[in-house]
Symmetry: C2
Subunit: 339 residues, 2 copies
């Protein structure tokens, strides 16, 4: 990439933000992680084997951290944020298990996907199990309104995944289609994670709405950056293979913009690579060169920064606190990890 549009000072605050978030939420997250392990257990051996394989591979646990961080922003956390956070992580992991089956992915979090080891069948069913356990934990909080937020999110996420599937390899997909996909499949869970955290924290209607918006904008920024990293991350940054989205035919923004603006020869190269699992690395390099010629990765990152800015604005009216400053930096971090 060419020089970044993000000032260096912002970048360095952003770089440390994830570590600070890890540290600030460590006490709550220890409880969340214990609950996650406990609730992934089952007398049916294959269930905890598969679930723990995925869960222990880790990932950043950004979503549940957001839930407990959102609760900490407010005066009177009631403790429900621990169960909500674990439920959010279970919903996320259920989605990953099902996504890997849908996308026929071989890698996840830098290791062979669960479906490669235990098969598609077990991945579908253990995903269902985790979803059931997620709802059990929500029920235990007794907060039916928050439960409604997460149940609605579950339906919208699935709907978004179907929409993405319907648009795969569709050369006429528009930036609006893409915005709809990422809002549903990714931003919805970030939004719900932050909103139920705020509810557990005792937020008033305004605070709850602020966190809901923050989560949504943060989730959009996060997915836009992910979709850029798919084309230029170092091996292992995402824990999956570079170019996977292209080979799966995913109509992400860099592709949509390149198809709209490329010349016929460029369009032909992109179209031929799209949705072809056999696309060689040489062609992938050509596609990335086309993206760079039209600046589609840079512009995708600029959109990500717009969403990160909107996330910061959403919580700007809340009372000042260390956690608020940290969540503001997390918004920048979401984009900075691309640089």
């Amino acid at each position: 990439m060419a020089a970044s549009a993000v000032p260096l000072s912002t970048q360095s605050a952003a770089t440390g933000a994830l570590d600070r978030l890890l540290s600030e939420t460590a006490a709550d997250m220890a409880k969340v992680n214990a609950l996650i392990l406990e609730r992934a257990d089952s007398h049916v051996e294959m269930v905890p084997e598969l679930a723990r394989y995925l869960i222990e591979a880790g990932g950043k646990r950004l979503r549940p951290m957001l839930t407990v961080a959102a609760a900490a922003l407010f005066e009177t956390p009631n403790g429900a944020q621990i169960r909500f956070a674990a439920a959010v992580e279970f919903m996320h992991n259920a989605t990953l298990l099902h996504d890997d089956v849908v996308d026929e992915s071989d890698m996840r979090r830098g290791r062979p996907a669960a479906r490669v080891i235990w098969g598609n069948q077990a991945s579908v069913l253990v995903g269902d199990f985790l979803l059931g356990q997620a709802f059990m934990m929500m029920v235990e909080t007794g907060d039916i309104e928050a439960l409604g937020v997460l149940a609605k999110a579950a339906a919208i996420i699935a709907e978004g995944e179907v929409f993405q599937l319907a648009k795969a390899r569709d050369l006429s997909a528009t930036p609006d289609d893409y915005a709809q996909v990422i809002r549903a499949k990714t931003a919805t869970l970030f939004e719900a994670a932050c909103e139920v955290g705020a509810m557990a924290g005792g937020a008033d209607a305004e605070g709850r709405e602020a966190l809901r918006l923050y989560g949504r904008e943060l989730g959009c920024a996060f997915q836009l950056v992910d979709d850029v990293l798919d084309y230029r991350g170092e091996s292992g940054t995402l824990g999956k293979n570079i170019g996977d989205d292209l080979r799966e035919g995913k109509m992400t923004l860099p592709v949509i913009l390149a198809l709209a603006e490329g010349n016929p020869a460029e369009r032909e190269i992109v179209a031929s690579a799209l949705g072809n699992p056999e696309t060689p690395d040489g062609v992938l390099a050509q596609v990335v060169a086309i993206f760079n010629r039209h600046g589609t990765l840079t512009r995708t990152l600029a959109q990500a920064q717009d969403h990160a800015d909107a996330a910061k604005a959403a919580i700007s009216g809340l009372r000042e606190s260390e956690m608020k400053a940290l969540l503001t930096d997390i918004a920048d971090f979401t984009v900075a990890r691309a640089y």
Copy 2:
């Protein structure tokens, strides 16, 4: 089959029971069906297309009928049974969509399975959507205790399916393993359907427990009969292909008993057919002959009748009513459909 153990008078009451249940629950089921169609809708076209294809193929809707029937047994139905019934049917349909992917089934309810038309990917995701919508409807009732019953059921069902998968083609599977599978994968939803119906009806703790037990026993009877019909139903009775369970390697009771009691040559024939998608009809016929030699289908049906009797006993203490008499007959119907 040889002569049935069920007296003819019981059989004829049983035969009419489903029609009477349909008629007694018609008013409530019209509301349930309208809600089902409404909640299967989505702005993502493929969602209602696929969901309605499955839902409109019908099936008996026995589970949601049990929910509204259970509510009607008690004095003060609060209306929540309509949403619970629709949620139960959505949970059931989500399970069917995922099961067909897991089992690689080609037929469902007498038509090509949804996965044959829309693919495994869409079947997984639309199943997830239906599950999310099911929880939304439960949330709308405001009854978090009933929601807990259904959430727990969702986790147990998935766990049971994983256990069944782990036991597939396992020649050392025992009758206890089988009992555990059918209790989890089938009886749990019948149990939950009846229990939340009773809760919506205003049942006291005793009434709720009676219906829970009734549902559980009825569900076990239902699955035992299904597992017999898989080997001798008329084409189309189950809406899937005869011998599917055998070819998928499912360790159902008729198989487990035959492996335990057959001579080495018989065991060899059963074992060779089990889990082999290419098993020809001629070998299937040999397997059924082995079952008949050892009476494994007859004994499986006898167990089904025991469960049906236990279902009747579970509700025998409730105050007399037409609906109670009908649910008693439904227990016998569950077994009678095998004759």
